[in-house]
């Protein structure tokens, strides 16, 4: 792609879903782990509608070994979609062979067979006991699948951000997400069907 930092220098993640799902928090924790603890360059941005709850919500993290000029995502390496609307809206922003990670309980129609579906919300509700921490289950999975962050640092960053008294619950949620993601073999995923020159059109 002409006119921007070479893509190999950038790794781009988008956390998307609806307001109130804690996606911005997840992105901030991720960025803090990568930037403050791992010591890489990172930019975290977000956009949301005027609603505090509901509506569209997305938060992005761009990671690089070099200073980042353009702070927003251009072509996603990983898209986390926590509902169908987000999956439909942002799927086309994924680059060739980017990873699509969805909440299998909330995203029923899959735009591609190259997809990682994990029931984040169900795990949070049934196993951790709080639906609220679905974002942290997802964060754990994204942390592992992206390969961009030291998982111990991800936990440290998480514990530094969450309210006192909720550390244990959040930490369990994160670990469950990591555990679920470990079950996935990325090499088993189908390759993208579209050819490489598609995005040059």
């Amino acid at each position: 792609m002409k006119g921007q930092q070479k893509q190999e220098d950038r790794y781009e993640i988008r956390f998307s879903g609806s307001g109130g799902q804690g996606l911005i928090t997840a992105a901030v924790v991720f960025a803090e782990a990568v930037g403050v603890y791992d010591g890489k360059y990172v930019c975290q941005t977000q956009s949301y509608g005027p609603e505090a709850r509901g509506g569209k919500s997305k938060a992005e993290v761009v990671i690089s070994s070099k200073p980042i000029d353009y702070p927003k995502a251009l072509e996603l390496d990983l898209l986390l979609a926590m509902n169908q609307a987000a999956c439909d809206a942002y799927f086309y922003d994924l680059k060739q062979n980017g990873l699509l990670v969805v909440d299998s309980g909330l995203v029923e129609q899959h735009p591609t067979s190259r997809i990682i579906a994990i029931p984040f919300t169900d795990i949070a509700k049934d196993e951790i006991g709080r639906k609220l921490v679905a974002n942290m289950v997802a964060l754990g999975a994204v942390g592992l699948l992206s390969g961009q962050v030291d998982l111990d640092n991800l936990e440290k960053a998480l514990l530094a951000r969450v309210p006192k008294g909720t550390e244990e619950m959040n930490s369990r949620a994160l670990q469950r997400g990591i555990e679920e993601a470990r079950k996935i073999n990325l090499d088993d995923l189908p390759r993208a069907v579209m050819s490489d020159d598609y995005d040059e059109v």
Partner: protein, 379 residues
Amino acid sequence: MSEPTKQRYLLQGNEAIVEGALTAGCRFFAGYPITPASEIAEQLSIKLPAVDGTFIQMEDEIASMGAIIGASLAGVKTMTATSGPGFSLMQENLGFACVAEVPCVIVNVMRGGPSTGLPTSPAQGDVQMARWGTHGDHSIVVLAVSTVMDSFTVTVKAFNIAEKYRIPVILLSDEVVAHTRECVELPAKSEIKVIDRIRPSVPPDWYKPYEGDARGVSPMAAFGDGYRHHVTGLIHDVMGFPTQKPREVKEFHLRQTKKISRGFSDIQMTKGYFLDDAETFVIAYGAVARSALSAVQEAREAGIKVGLLQLITLFPFPRRTVAPLLGQCRSVLIPEMNLGQMSREIQRVNQGMCNVVKYNRIDGKFITPREIYAQLTKL
């Protein structure tokens, strides 16, 4: 690198402005909630009282501007923060701060306008308003930030300029910079130069609050310090009393202009990239300078001799830096998230020397490096 180094933080642009303000010695903030600037008020409401400072949420932006002027007159470094609609309301008392030479910093986190506009989208539409928004001829300093680190360092500079020259300084941020989180390493306090206003050293009877020293700036007494004097929005003589005498009115205006022009080398800040052998160049500021840097770097790799001049000081317009480049280069590209507010300044200075190409976006979307690159290849 698993333990965080002590001074490495993940901060939003707005949070970095707060840190910069506190480091510069800001101890009073008055504001009114508005997207996308509210984080500045929220953070200062927590942090100012902890350093014996004062935070107050006023009934509107007119009142916020009045309150920071009042506090500054009482001897405290002050700031307010807002976005377009609030900045419109501040213009009245901003003029007062100009006329009465009251140091203060006004942060405008730009969003799409006019009117309520696009509250959560970035724009650079308030640039000319920052320069000329309040009525009447006046001198003012307008600075623009493009990264989180800038948001810290330029805020400190904004306070230093305000205090040194006794003027209001406008700091323009935008929705992109304000809400982007980046890792920054904040310098130790001892590494940062902080300037305080000069206080009078003469006995109170000798004090002339608006006489001006060699630089054209008068020492500033605080209310309650024993230097009883008069402060007014009317054009005034050296004692601060209203005057309509043509000679005194003219002197008043000339001193205010001169004190800024004498400080050009200090006030006008720019950053240059790849300019030495540039045949064409880009002038950009704010968030757009980030995209421009990406595009310029890519173009250099492709063998295009292009440079970038990033403006930190928008006004007084850094003519002495810009003019030689306009003479040196074939073309200049000016990408802006408005319909060409800074390109007017550049065209004014250009006088036909260089081919001026505008690239403007006003749809609430941030200009990407790709778009700038595409323009560069056409220069």
